[in-house]
Amino acid sequence: MGESEARTAREEWGSRFGFLMALVGAMVGAGNIWRMPFTTGQNGGGAFLVAYVLLLYLVAVPGLMAETMIGRYTNNGVIGAFNQVLGSKRARGLGLVVLLVNVALMSYYSPIIGWALYYAGHSLLGTFTQAGFQPQAFWNGFIGNTALVVGMHTLTMAGLAGVLVFGIRRGIERVVKWMIPLLVFALVAVAIRGITLPGGMEGLAFVFTPDWGYLTRGSMWIAALSQALFSTGLGWGIALTYGSYLGRYDDVPLGGGLFTAIGNTSIGLLAVFATFPVVFAFGLEPTAGSNLLFISLAEVFPELPGGAAWAAVFFVSFFFATFTSGLGITEVGVTTVSEETRLSRTGSVLAVCGAIWLFGLPSAYSSSFLGQMDFIFGSFGLPLATLSIIALVAWKFGPERARVIDLNRNAGVYVGRWWNPVIKYVIPTVMVFILGYGIVTNIGTDNQTLTIVGVALMAVLVVASVAVMSVVGDAPGDRPGAASKGGD
């Protein structure tokens, strides 16, 4: 196929199952495995789950419907979608903000995938069950070896590029169709093993015994809201990008909204079953976050009968969870760059993965820098990106117009008028509240400087992105006969 032909035909998902696994795989990440169990246990167990599920259905599901819909409607990546709906060169700046937040997010997420890859590799080699294995020393030896961490970061980006270069159907879809089912089966297997351990049920008691008093605490609702919004990946541009590869007969609300949010949370619940029984059976500290995975769990698997196999199942599945997220986050950039520049798909993959690799070096070099990036972009960058995408549907396209013209077209489930106020008022209010709450609660704490830097950085990002996009030339899509399409 000639270059011009290749750039006019947009790729589509090969199957419904492939799209659903890709979207859920992109949203299921490290946070589901190490954050959801801890957050649930710390915030009243069952009471937190009630609040979380409520907010999931009220905010995350409608939001994901809106994001996936605008992707399918425009058949464009983030910059193209903003350009098409807002109809101005300057408007592309908001798309650029979403793109840059994704690149920044991926720059520190790639080293984390590298950690998961390293542990998955060693679990397969049986390192954790060797005599004299010391998990803390092993972790310190790894994280203190800059060349090794940078090497794993490099290997991660090379692996992601190796998949993405094959496109949507032959690349992403082919990988996620077996990675996500294997992740689910692995978590179920580890969960069954954990529950059957002596003392394992205490972990479930900790998580599921509801403390209804928490329902009156504002902090619990904030935690539930943050988990519902950020663990589902709402507004990161992933649902928009993956939605842009849907075909005309594909449904949006059932798969893009309901399944993505609930499927993602279901895997978080499986992670609760997989980790907390083991944590309590071995008397580990449940609030240890990433240390829980890389140090505590690495310590206990060898003590189980057949521990090497259980460690391999767990760490390989954890790697799958992070890798499929890496595919989704990176694809946002790849699709957009291939649409907005003259680069081919391969060129775009190399450019985006190369840029992420380069920007990821400081995070790979320093865990402290990684933590600061996570704070800045997790607290301010992602809410900003979410607000931008939801605002596009809520205040420009218009929820009623979106609902009647596109959302209910070929839909597997009918979406009623209740959706309009949720998109127009509830989600933007929630995002502004979360941004404001993050700023207010961090002023006067150790994070004050980072908070100021984060807010300033986001302001600069918005102004610079709008300025850059208003002066750069027309996108290829604006020129007759040169429609660049990302997934070819």
């Binding site: 509801p210 005309r248 399944f259 499927g263």
Partner: protein, 107 residues
């Protein structure tokens, strides 16, 4: 340590509303795709709006005739009406009487 009845109930409810619902949606979505593919193979076209969704689209077009998106909305509405008249087996729950009453909108 045995779980309390309340903890069992919370756990069962969590499994029901999360993995239970997710599995049900996945099955429904896959069946829906199979049905769409079967209909497309047989009649080369399927209706794209349910009766309620098409009625709302018509109402919106009539309320917003000069909206910038109205031409596209009319095109989608008329396409669905024409498809319903052409095909034997609609994807959505359309009755022959409902289809009979449908009229295209002037574009």
């Amino acid at each position: 340590m045995a779980l309390s009845t309340l903890a069992w109930a919370t756990m069962a409810l969590s499994i029901l509303v999360l993995p239970g619902v997710a599995t049900a949606i996945l099955v429904r979505s896959m069946r829906s795709e199979d049905r769409k593919l079967a209909l497309l193979e047989r009649q080369d076209n399927i209706d794209s709006y349910s009766p309620r969704a098409l009625e709302e689209l018509r109402e919106w077009i009539q309320t917003n005739p000069n909206d910038p998106y109205a031409p596209e909305a009319r095109e989608r509405y008329n396409e669905c009406v024409r498809t319903l008249r052409e095909i034997d087996d609609p994807y959505y729950d359309w009755s022959p009487e409902q289809i009979e009453k449908l009229e295209t909108i002037e574009e």
